[in-house]
């Protein structure tokens, strides 16, 4: 459904020199690569989490896929169309939400923006009503429809933005940081909705985010990019298995002054009642450690913590030095 092959995008950036007049007289330009040689494919109905640090090229990819930017080289085919060549035909198939921008008219009620979109996409009354009814129910929009956009909270507005992107029933949805700045309740509502629309309308979803819990809740596949290059493409479980290298064991015991050491285990802190130990999974395992602990201490409580996905990602960023 989506085929991206060797996509690159370069920008010319004017270098600003120090001082007042030097940049007025002459400017030097340098070429910055936002994307280099990016390739991936997506199947219909997939939800892909697209992650990477700020400036990695996530939004650039989304903009090329929506036909807004023209890449420097490479090809991109979405439902048989090249977005920047057949922009007008292509955009009928896609819905886009840019979390940091708004597509609704600031001073008029939400419903007026929707009606304009209805006419822009040439939806029939029947189609519009069906789509709107569904979105209003799922996103709980009925109290918001007649309020001007400027009076909505960020969470309410985001729900309306998402509805606006889906009014014309597109088969692909691009979400560029849809949960940015939302509180926990709104985030969960948005996630639930994305899941639902993916299951019911079979919408293919690409989601960029910095919130790993978005990915954990939604995506079965993850693409990590950094400095415009693809670094990882696969499912979340695999990522954890190959990049989670240690687990942390926190153990509480009856007062003891006994020392403790075991191969592959690093003691982070130890008091007479509690020890925090990191287990390097390539050298040892949690069960072996616990066995060892029970033989030397009277254990009161044990907790095993897996590295949170955020840390895994941070470690990956470090590893790929991005």
């Amino acid at each position: 459904m989506i085929e991206i092959e060797n996509l690159s995008k370069a920008f010319q950036v004017a270098k600003r020199k120090k001082g007042m007049f030097s940049s007025f007289i002459s400017r030097e330009h340098e070429t910055v690569y936002a994307l280099s040689d990016l390739s991936f494919r997506m199947k219909k109905g997939e939800i892909v989490g697209y992650i990477g640090p700020n400036g990695a090229g996530k939004s650039t990819t989304i903009k090329i896929m929506s036909g807004i930017l023209v890449p420097s080289s490479g090809s991109c085919e979405i439902m048989g169309l090249t977005p920047w060549q057949s922009r007008i035909e292509h955009v009928r198939n896609i819905g886009v939400v840019f979390g940091q921008r708004t597509q609704l008219w600031w001073d008029v009620p939400v419903i007026d923006s929707f009606e304009l979109l209805k006419d822009i996409y040439k939806l029939s009354d029947h189609q519009y009503k069906r789509s709107l009814d569904q979105l209003v129910t799922y996103l709980d929009l009925s109290p918001l429809l007649h309020k001007p956009v400027r009076q909505l909270s960020l969470g309410q507005r985001m729900r309306c933005e998402i509805a606006a992107a889906l009014l014309h029933e597109p088969s692909i949805l691009f979400l560029d940081e849809p949960t940015i700045g939302l509180d926990a309740v709104s985030k969960i509502a948005v996630r639930k909705f994305i899941k639902k629309i993916n299951e019911e309308r079979g919408v293919t979803v690409i989601l960029t985010t910095h919130d790993m819990s978005d990915i954990e809740a939604l995506a079965n596949r993850l693409i990590l990019i950094g400095k415009g290059k693809k670094l990882y493409d696969g499912d979340l479980k695999n990522l954890k298995e190959s990049y989670v290298k240690s687990k942390r064991v926190i153990v509480d015991y009856e007062t003891s002054s006994q020392d403790f050491s075991l191969n592959g285990c690093q003691i982070i802190s130890q008091t007479s009642e509690r020890a925090v130990i990191d287990v390097n999974l390539s050298e040892n395992s949690v069960p072996v450690l616990i066995q060892h602990l029970t033989s030397s201490f009277n254990i009161l409580d044990i907790a095993v913590e897996t590295q949170p996905i955020e840390e895994v990602i941070v470690n990956m960023y470090k590893e790929f030095s991005i």
């Binding site: 400036g55 903009k63 807004i68 930017l69 896609i94 886009v96 008029v108 209805k118 006419d119």
Partner: protein, 267 residues
């Protein structure tokens, strides 16, 4: 309903929210018109005409200029469009299945129409009931009125096509200040907003004739007052149509080129 009607309706609703601005606009234009008329009347002195332009025609010309000011001026900026480019919200515009030039054109023309609707009627009404010689005269004839209306609308189309270039230039400069100032100063002078074109010296008038600006305001107002005979009016309207063709073609091409090299601001 077609999208452009919906857009126009949306603009009208939006415009109606700024009633205070409209009232202020009416007051300003009314006083500006009155002052201009007094100054030019002083220059006329005892003369009843200058360059074949009678005092009554001059007064009507000025009142019409003020009433339809939003149709002629180039400094009328659509903040929304500038913001769209500057902040990168243009990303959403390009996700719509529409020709962007056409979409923006309709946005601009509907905002001018919506502010004209709020402003022109009060000004025209007051001007008609001004004391004796300072009143706005009725159109010269029914045919004049008809031709006036036609050329006014064509003039609006020309003006919006010119103003599109200001918006397109923001793709390159990222700030509207420079081009807006440049376009509005040039446009204001050559469309006769500072000095009515019939009052200009012959050499300047000949020069103004080859520019598009006078076809936005000067031509329709002179048709209305009967300063231009029917055959010349028809000729002027034909030139308006030619300008529309030229400006729209150039504008479309410029827009297409800018979009190809587009950078979306702000990530």
């Amino acid at each position: 309903m077609k999208w452009y009607f919906t857009l126009l309706k949306l603009r009208l609703t939006q415009g109606l929210q700024y009633r205070a601005a409209a009232i202020a606009g009416v007051a300003t234009q009314f006083f500006w018109g009155a002052i201009s008329i007094m100054i030019f009347a002083t220059f006329y002195g005892d003369a009843s005409e200058v360059n074949g332009f009678t005092k009554e025609q001059m007064i009507t010309y000025i009142w019409l200029q003020q009433a339809f000011l939003v149709f002629i001026v180039l400094w009328l900026r659509d903040k929304e469009l500038f913001e769209l480019i500057r902040t990168g919200n243009i990303a959403y515009e390009l996700c719509r299945p529409l020709n962007t030039y056409g979409f923006w054109y309709v946005k601009l023309i509907s905002s001018r129409l919506s502010s004209a609707i709020l402003r022109c009627i009060p000004i025209l009404l007051i001007a008609v009931f001004m004391p004796g010689p300072y009143a706005l005269a009725l159109p010269n004839s029914a045919i004049s009125a008809l031709l006036f209306f036609l050329s006014l609308i064509l003039g609006l189309i020309i003006n919006v096509a010119i103003s599109m270039f200001i918006y397109i230039s923001v793709f390159i400069t990222l700030s509207p200040t420079g081009s807006l100032l440049l376009f509005s100063v040039i446009g204001e002078f050559f469309s006769g907003l500072i000095l009515p074109i019939p009052l200009m010296p012959t050499w300047l008038r000949n020069f103004v004739m080859i520019l598009p600006f006078r076809y936005t305001g000067d031509l329709p107002f002179r048709i209305y007052s009967g300063n231009i005979v029917y055959s010349d009016a028809l000729f002027g309207i034909a030139i308006q149509v030619i300008w529309i063709g030229v400006l729209l073609t150039l504008g479309q091409a410029a827009m297409k080129k800018s979009l190809k090299h587009l950078t979306v601001q702000g990530g």
